[in-house]
Symmetry: C2
Subunit: 436 residues, 2 copies
Amino acid sequence: MKLTLNKSEKSEHLYMEIYHYYRDLIMEQKLLPGSKMPSLRKCASELRLSRTTIENAYLQLAADGYIISKAQSGYYVTDIATKQFLPLPPKSKKQTGFRYSFASSGVDRESFRFDLWRRYIKSALRQDERLLSYGEFQGEADFRQALCEYIRDRRNILCSPEDIVVGAGVQSLLHILCPLVLDKKTVSFPTPSFVQGSTVFSDYGFEVRYRNKDSGVIYVSPAHMTKWGEIMPVSRRLELIRYAAKNQSLIIEDDFENEFVYLQKPTPSLFGLSGGQGVVYIGSFSKLLLPSIRISFMVLPPGLKEAYQKKAANYNQTASKAEQIALCQFIRDGHLSAQTRKLKRLYSAKLKQLLSAVETIFGSGSQIQIGSAGTSLALTLSVPYTGEELQKRAANESLRIPILKEAPGEVTVILSCSSMPEQDFLPACRLLKSIC
Amino acid sequence: MKLTLNKSEKSEHLYMEIYHYYRDLIMEQKLLPGSKMPSLRKCASELRLSRTTIENAYLQLAADGYIISKAQSGYYVTDIATKQFLPLPPKSKKQTGFRYSFASSGVDRESFRFDLWRRYIKSALRQDERLLSYGEFQGEADFRQALCEYIRDRRNILCSPEDIVVGAGVQSLLHILCPLVLDKKTVSFPTPSFVQGSTVFSDYGFEVRYRNKDSGVIYVSPAHMTKWGEIMPVSRRLELIRYAAKNQSLIIEDDFENEFVYLQKPTPSLFGLSGGQGVVYIGSFSKLLLPSIRISFMVLPPGLKEAYQKKAANYNQTASKAEQIALCQFIRDGHLSAQTRKLKRLYSAKLKQLLSAVETIFGSGSQIQIGSAGTSLALTLSVPYTGEELQKRAANESLRIPILKEAPGEVTVILSCSSMPEQDFLPACRLLKSIC
C-alpha cells in the first residue's frame, strides 16, 4: 500500500487519508465483501503510524458501514459495494397462504367499512398540533370520555375517565396491572388457551393455575368461557363475585366477544354486578373493528386506581394517538354501535350456516358443541391421526383448522365462521371430511 | 304497584313485564336517577312472585343500564333517562397550556411533513386484506426488512429481519426482553432520569443501580449520556464492550438521538463495534417523526434471539400495523433519511441559536453545559429558590422549564430547542431571567 503522507499533518488528517484509501478499494470491489482487513497492529507497523490513527480510520469505515468488526476476529469488508440485500424470512404459514381458514383470528372481510375508517384516520391526522406531542400516559382524555359513555350505555359500567387506562392490546394493559397486584401471587385462567394472558403473569412470577377460584387473581372472559362460545350464566357470575369478595381476590373481567351473545337473557358485566368492587374490566376492539387496530382499555376499581395514578407517569402510552383520536370520533358518531349490531347479526347468521354445513357433511349425528355466543363451534372427529397429523393433512390441502383437544382415536377441531366467507362453508367442510 | 299477571304464563314472561314496568318508570323519570330500587325480597313478597323472577328483571334492567347495583347496598336508578355525561378530567398542565416550553418531549412543528405522512398512512389503509388480520408477532416482515437495511446503512448494524422485534415504544420491547434475562438480576442505568426504563426492570424484580458496570444488564444511550447531549467517546465504547464481555453482562444500547450528533468524528454503534455479541440494539422514531407514532424496534444478538423465538407467539404485536406499513414505505422511499438530515441541520442550528440567546440574556459567564449532540443545554442558575419553587414561578408565567438538579442556592435547568420556535428563544430566556 502506497500513501504519500506529509508527517507534519495532524493525525486527524492521516486517519481520513487511510479511511479514503480503503473506502475506494472497497467501493471499487478491489477488496471484496467478506474479506478480512489487515489487523490494526500489522497495518500500523506497515505504515509506521500509531495504532490509534489506524483504529480511527477503521472506526470511521465501520461507522459508515464499509467494514464490520467480528468479535475476537477483526474487521471484515461488508457488502456495501454490492448492496445485496438480506433475504426476506419465509412468511409463516400462520399469517397467510390458506385456501380455507377456520381460524378465528381474522374478521369478515365484508363487515368492515374501510372507507369510513380511512375518513376518520384522515381527519385525526389533520390535528397536527396534537400529534406533535406524546400521547397522554393514560390515553387521550376525550377518547377515555367516549369510552366511559360507551361502556356505561352498553355494559352498565359507571366510571369516570380517570378510571380508564388505554393500551395497545390486552397485554400492554396487563403489563401495567400486574406490577400493581404482585402481592396476589397466584392467578387463575379458565383454560390454558389464552397464552398471551398467562405469559405476562408468569413473566412477573405469578403462579398460573386453571379453574382455581382460590387464587389471588381470577381472570375470566364471561362471554367466551369456551372456544365454542359458552357464556357464564348470571347465577355463576353472582356466585363468583361473592366468592372473590370473600377471599379478597381480584377479578379481571376480559369482556372479549360480549358483543356476540345471541340470546335474549341479560348478560350483565361482572363489573356492573359488583358495582365495580374488586373487578378490573377489560375491553378491546379487535373483533369489532380490525385486528390490526391495537387499542384496548381497562377500568380500574377504587384502590387500584390510586395505586396506578402514583405510577402513571412511569408508563408511556402504547396505543397510536392518531387511532385513539379516530376511534373517539368514530364512537361518538355512533359507528361503533352500528358496527356491533351489524356484526352480531352477521355472525349469528353465519354461525347457523356453518352449523348446518357441518351437519350436512358430517351428519347430524356428529359430535358438535356450540354455545350461545362467539363465532365458533367445536367438532369432534373420529380419526386415526393425532391433532398435529390432522392439521398437517389439512395444511397440505390448504385448509387451516385450529385443534382444540385430542383423545385416542379422536380429535376436536374449532371451526370459526368469522373470517371465512359463507359460500366456502360447504366446500371447506367437504375438504375436511375428505382428509379424515 | 299494580300488575295484571296471568299466573299460568311462564316466569320468562313475568320478569319481562316487571322489567318493562320499571323501565318506563325510569325513562319517564318517575323513578329519579340515584333513587334506590326496592329490595328483591321486598319486591318479591309484594308481588307474590319468586325472588328469581324479580332478580331476572333487575338483571335485565341492570344489563340495559337502567339500574346499577352497588356492593352491599342494592340497586339504584342510573342517569340513563337524563343522560348527563360524566365531566372531562382537568387536562394536566403537562400536556398543554404553556406559552413557552423548554421541554424536549415535543418536536419542531415546522419540521414534520404531515402531508407526506398522511399520504403514506392513506396508502397503508388501502391494503384492506392485510389489515383484516392480526399483525405478525415480531412486526411486519417487510417493515423489519426495511429496518435491517436502514440500520445497516446508517449504523453499521448487520442483522437479518429475524433478529428484529418491533414494538409500540421502548417499554413494550423491554416487556419482552426482561423476562428473557431475569437471571441477570441487576441492571445499571446512566442516570435516574429514564424512569420509564428503570420502572419496567424493577417491575420484574431487577435491582436497579446507576453507573455500575458490574451489573447483569448495562443500559446505555451512547448518543445521549447526559440531558445536555454528551456522547460516549469511542474509547469508552470499546472499553465498555470489553468489560461487559468479560463479565458476561448484557449491554442494552438505546441509540436515542444518535441522529443528532453534530461532530465529524465517527460514532459507531456498540452493536456494530461488538459485532453484535452481547449487545441488544434499540432504535425508535419518536424524535425523527412524531412522538405520537409509537414504533420502536430492537435487534437481538445470538442466544437471545433463539430464546425470544421460543416465546414469540406468546406476545402480540403492540405497534399499529397501518403505521408499520406506512413507515416501511416511508423508509424505502428515502424519506426517513431525508427527514433525519433535515432535523440534524435544523437542531444543530437551533441549538447554536439557543446558546447565543442564553449567553445574551445571562451573560457569557453563566454556567452553561452543552454537549456535541441532542437538542438541549444545561443552565445553572444562582437563585434563592428550590427547583420546585422555580418551576412554579415559571409556570405562573406560562413558562415550562424541566429541572435537572439543584444544590443550595442554585438550580440547574435543561433548556431544549426542539419544540420551541427560534424567535421565542430570546423572550423565553428573558422571562426565565426575570423570575430568577
